[in-house]
């Protein structure tokens, strides 16, 4: 059976509403059966996919994000940044982007980042007269900085799926993450100057700045421990997640005293849901991956791509348009888990760097997270702001264009991504 037939069946199963984890696992099991492979490979795949030290970073980073979210560190952070840049044109929007970037250095999840900062930034900006659709789009897009700036759950998943160093992927995300933050800041300032209509903020006094910054220091310290710990090679990603989890717990219970027992229980229960949901997809994908590898489908696909696309630029353009279209109907992580193993064998013959391509892949995931109708960040912002989905979408599309622009820049200057992991 050819790659196309398998893909067609998978799409039909997914569109019929079968959960992604079971569509992958079930189709994988059926393919094993048709190829006379003993089904004992199914539980073996389910076991080995989850029995992984690297993957332990996923539940721990999710726990940490949720604890910090419930502990309300978003508002402390936002207030501190606001005290420094609030009086700029579009100052609140700039403060939002910077807060998202800093929180992105603690959180590996775009939804958690959008929610943590959004809860405080959205009402504040609306109150000051910013156009709602701009505010929603900014928060939905700002949240995606959470997965480009390390740590990043999609990068952990990608690293596991393609068997590349997660530390290198993390470090390669820093440059592009900063680039994207600058693009968003530039857009915010330009938008504020052109559209106007908002109420400017007065410059904060030094006393106000000092107070606000002290309150945010523990959060900044946490971000620094995680980034430097990974950068200097003190921790593996899993260890930094464990330390980050414990520190966030100590921080919110003893230092800030902002986490109650009830909200801790909520954070723990929510983390379990997110983790189990994600891990089941990985487990299903493992069974599916075993089956298609036995049938040599990734090889077949890569041969076909190489025969038809001979330039690296053409390949990147095709992959990005494909991911953009898929992002319209497939949830972002599911898209990664399905597409990455099929696309990665093509990189070597085309002479493309897997880490560099990984960063481009993650930016495409960001675009998928804010593109309708299934972009998770759109829903989270809609829920927080009690806005209409249409308004959130209207605000989000300029950011998709900026993301594609960032990809073009990283294509032209690979050093944006690769300097930090490999040259410094």
């Amino acid at each position: 059976m050819s790659a196309f037939a398998v893909l067609a069946i998978l799409i039909v199963l997914l569109l019929a509403g079968l959960p992604v984890a079971f569509a992958l696992g079930g189709l994988g099991a059926a393919l094993l059966l048709f190829n006379d492979v003993p089904l004992i490979m199914v539980p073996q795949g389910l076991y080995s996919s989850i029995d992984s030290f690297v993957l332990l970073a996923v539940p721990l980073f999710i726990l940490m994000s949720n604890i910090l979210l419930k502990g309300g560190v978003g508002s402390d952070l936002f207030r501190a940044v606001q005290a420094w840049v609030g009086h700029w044109p579009g100052g609140l929007a700039v403060a939002t982007v910077i807060s998202c970037a800093i929180f992105g250095a603690i959180s590996g999840s775009s939804v958690a980042t959008a929610a943590t900062i959004g809860v405080i930034a959205i009402p504040e900006m609306i109150k000051r007269g910013y156009k709602p659709h701009f505010v929603y789009g900014l928060l939905a897009a700002g949240g995606t900085l959470g997965i480009l700036i390390p740590p990043s759950i999609p990068m952990i998943v990608l690293g596991v799926v393609i068997e590349e160093s997660i530390t290198s992927l993390f470090l390669a995300g820093i440059g592009p993450g900063l680039l994207m933050a600058f693009l968003f800041i530039g857009f915010s300032v330009a938008y504020a100057k052109l559209a106007g209509g908002f109420e400017a903020q007065r410059r904060a006094t030094w006393e106000e700045r000092r107070k606000a910054t002290i309150r945010a220091l523990p959060t900044l310290f946490l971000a620094l421990v995680i980034i430097l710990g990974i950068y200097l090679g003190v921790f593996t990603p899993t260890e930094s997640a464990g330390i980050g989890f414990t520190l966030s717990l100590l921080l919110t219970t003893f230092v800030l005293r902002s986490l109650s027992w009830a909200s801790l229980k909520e954070a723990v229960a929510e983390s379990m849901r997110t983790t189990v949901t994600l891990m089941l997809i990985l487990a299903g994908a493992k069974v599916f991956g075993q089956a298609i590898t036995l049938m040599r489908i990734p090889h077949e696909v890569s041969t076909m791509i190489v025969a038809n696309v001979d330039t690296a630029g053409g390949f990147v353009a095709i992959v990005c348009s494909m991911l953009l279209v898929m992002g319209f109907f497939l949830e972002a992580l599911a898209m990664t888990i399905i597409m990455a193993p099929v696309l990665y064998p093509t990189l070597a013959p085309l002479g493309l760097d897997p880490i560099w391509f990984g960063v481009i892949f993650v930016i495409m995931i960001e675009a998928a997270l804010i593109s309708p109708p299934v972009g998770l960040n759109l829903f989270i912002i809609q829920a927080i702001a009690k806005a209409s989905l249409g308004e959130v979408i209207r605000g989000a599309w300029p950011f998709i264009l900026m993301m594609l622009g960032a990809i073009a820049a990283i294509y032209a200057w690979p050093g944006i991504a690769l300097t930090i992991p490999f040259k410094l």
Binding site: L13, L14, L15, A16, G17, L18, P19, V20, A21, F22, G25, G26, A29, L39, I40, V42, P43, Q44, L46, Y47, I50, D51, S52, F53, L55, L56, P59, L60, L63, V234, F235, T238, E239, A241, G242, I243, F245, T246, V268, A269, S271, M272, R273, T275, V276, T277, M279, L280, I281, A283, F329, L330, E331, L333, A334, P373, V374
Partner: protein, 159 residues
Amino acid sequence: MLRAIDRLADIGAGVAAWLFVMIGGMITFEVVGRYGFTAPTIWAEELSRFCQVWAVYLGAAYVLRRGHLIRITFVTDRLGRRWRQAAEAFSLLAIMVIAAIALWWGMLITIESLAIGRITTSMLGTPLWMSEIAIPIGAALLLLQSLALLIRLTRGEPS
């Protein structure tokens, strides 16, 4: 009876949630032990991985019932009530088949590990059946839960 199945899934999920917290504790203990007291453990990594396998499969039935599993709904949302129910029934049946496969062959693996005394190749040498049995147990919970959901669907009860 159906309530009892829900209750079982809830218990599994509760255990799963705190297993993840335990993993956080173990990893932290390991890092602190290594850097603070140059005393790395031989158990933290292995037990953490075991806890993760248990947690994921114990939580599966619960996330299914609560509708947290990621699925594409924009086609099924546009279908009429009968077609949507048919799609739902198809999903549940497919999940039952997959759970049954994981249950049966997962059990065979566990029984074999038990019979020949397979252990992990680490210094800890944990018997493998202790973590492998998480797959058939989780699959059994999932099978029961999807059966319960299917029964409710045919009776027209909300899940």
